[in-house]
């Protein structure tokens, strides 16, 4: 491409940069009561040589319905109470840009049964705050920037140091001072540059991370409940945050 003959309009306000879109599926067998789950994983080497943020959705019914990564559909069969641990799909990104998707298929202890599940997933990779020099994955026209469309517009971004001590309450505040409750994103970045969602687990280890993100008209408040994290893991790292003008 001859850049001197290319006209381009870029936004005055910064936006997220989707640097790749990944899809895949993970098949899991029938979970037994012990250990109570079956885990399947899939990895994608982005070739970035650096970590990035991830947002995504998954389906366990062949693509008819989709759910946010990190959520689980409660099973009300045989309840109340419902079975909350059903099928879960979590992501993490290594310091070198290997994205791991972990699907956990839980045994239903109320019904006393389990079933094999196939997890389909779709991921959007987002450039992080201090992204290094990477070459984005080929994109389709849906992600190509167009000045005719309305995108989430970044107001401010940054990071706060956040070391997790199990069982200890912790809080940190960032002022955005927008005067209204904005849209936000937040991710946990370990000191080795591994990126995790703010609520994350790997029950096979086991390992857990849980950080609240609270938003007011003037502040972001990150909070960790010591009672809930008493059986969690210690981490050293940062919370990367983004505040958008959009609300």
């Amino acid at each position: 491409m001859d850049a001197t003959k290319t006209a381009i309009s870029v936004p005055e306000l910064d936006t997220d940069k989707i640097v790749g879109v990944l899809t895949g599926s993970i098949s899991t067998g029938v979970p037994a009561s012990i250990p109570g789950y079956v885990i399947g994983t899939a990895t994608h080497n982005t070739g970035f040589g650096d970590s990035c943020y991830v947002k995504g959705i998954f389906s366990v019914d062949g693509g008819t319905t989709w759910n946010d990564l990190g959520s689980m559909i409660p099973d009300n069969t045989g309840g109340p109470p419902p079975t909350f641990q059903t099928q879960e799909c979590i992501w993490e990104c290594s310091p070198t840009g290997v994205v791991t998707v972990r699907a956990t298929n839980w045994y239903n202890f109320i019904l006393g049964s389990g079933a094999a599940k196939t997890f389909q997933y779709k991921l959007a990779l987002i450039a992080k705050n201090d992204q290094g020099d990477i070459t984005p994955l080929p994109t389709n026209s849906v992600t190509a920037y167009s000045s005719a469309d309305n995108y989430q517009k970044i107001s401010s971004q940054g990071s706060v140091a956040w070391d997790v001590t199990p069982g200890v309450d912790k809080s940190a505040t960032v002022n955005h001072n927008l005067g209204y409750v904005p849209k936000v994103k937040a991710f946990y970045r370990k000191t080795d540059d591994t990126i995790l969602p703010m609520v994350w687990n790997d029950v096979s280890v086991p390992a857990y991370l849980e950080i609240d993100v609270r938003v007011t008209t003037t502040q972001l408040i990150f909070n960790s409940d010591g009672l809930r994290t008493s059986f969690h893991n210690a981490y050293t790292g940062f919370i990367d945050w983004r505040v958008y003008l959009d609300a």
Binding site: I18, V19, S71, P82, A124, P136, Y151, P197
Partner: protein, 130 residues
């Protein structure tokens, strides 16, 4: 920074395209929750397209802040008159609806009087880049 010099492989990409913002709420009257008692509440937001990326914020009327629900959010309310109490929410799509499923669990092991509260939800939906 992402390197877009190899434009034969990629085009300059953007973030998520704003699609729509939808609101929902559920109001809960004052109640007595039994020992380790459990209550569940659902906010259903109908969608035109459930193959979207969502970001949800929830606010309980007993809080002074909105909580970001990144798939799931767990919250405990030690500042309530009753301690050791959990109000947790999770977000999922099904049947053309965005479902915000919230459950209230008493962790004290003794019957508790729960004040009335409202949970408001704001769902930001984006065009899926898939």
């Amino acid at each position: 920074m992402p390197n877009y010099s190899n434009t034969s492989a990629t085009s300059i990409s953007s973030g998520f395209q704003n699609y729509t913002v939808k609101d929902g709420s559920v109001s809960v009257g004052a109640q007595a929750l039994g020992a380790f008692g459990f209550q569940q509440y659902t906010i259903t937001i109908p969608l035109e397209n459930n193959n979207a990326i969502s970001e949800v914020q929830l606010k309980c009327s007993l809080d002074s802040y909105w909580s970001l629900v990144d798939g799931t959010v767990f919250r405990r309310y030690p500042t309530w008159a009753i301690s050791n109490y959990e109000l947790s929410s999770m977000v999922y799509f099904t049947g053309g609806n965005l479902i915000i499923y919230t459950y209230l669990v008493d962790l004290t092991g003794a019957p508790q009087a729960i004040p009335a509260f409202t949970i408001d939800a704001r769902a930001f939906l984006f065009k899926a880049p898939f």
